[in-house]
Amino acid sequence: DTAVSQTPKYLVTQMGNDKSIKCEQNLGHDTMYWYKQDSKKFLKIMFSYNNKELIINETVPNRFSPKSPDKAHLNLHINSLELGDSAVYFCASSAGFGQETQYFGPGTRLLVL
């Protein structure tokens, strides 16, 4: 059984388009995260939600909008995609707010042309 799943796995799109990435966890966790991994493999947190409420909102362009319809899902919508948005986006979850271990999804590889 997949613990944290993301769709799509790959996303190739043109500049200026709007796209969404979906994340679901079946671990019963309360907290979910979005991370961005750049081409040098550096991982940086973007957002965190706890029980559908936004907890962490790093300095991310407002073209990125997370949405959590319920605590098992955290989606990421990106408007007006730019070349610099090309990266791997990882969703993660943890048991609770501030609970240490995070469980990561397989990643969504976004390429903006």
Partner: protein
């Protein structure tokens, strides 16, 4: 800013050898964690060491933490080809709301 720095950036060893990688961080922490990332895959949690702990073991993994030097090390003993991956340290500050600050990672290649 990047919280963690890892050293070395890349490590190439033969099966059976030990692999050691180091991580430094900048601020006080609640805990420090190590994750593994196989090529094209997500991150897998390996081990967590709390700020009041100095050493922790899990199977062939040994992690140390020196809070006075703000550094940690991960030792993989008797490495296997399947250990080939990128290894990341991630620190968690007390006031960070669960946020992990990742290092740049160490790319480990284990050749048979």
């Amino acid at each position: 800013s990047q919280q963690g720095e890892e050293d070395p950036q890349a490590l190439s060893i033969q099966e059976g050898e030990n692999a050691t990688m180091n991580c430094s961080y900048k601020t006080s922490i609640n805990n420090l964690q190590w994750y593994r990332q196989n090529s094209g895959r997500g991150l897998v949690h390996l081990i967590l060491i709390r700020s009041n702990e100095r050493e922790k073991h899990s199977g062939r993994l040994r992690v140390t933490l020196d809070t006075s030097k703000k550094s940690s090390s991960l030792l993989i003993t008797a490495s296997r080809a399947a250990d080939t991956a990128s290894y990341f340290c991630a620190s968690q500050r007390p006031d960070s709301w669960g946020k992990l600050q990742f290092g740049a990672g160490t790319q480990v290649v284990v050749t048979p």
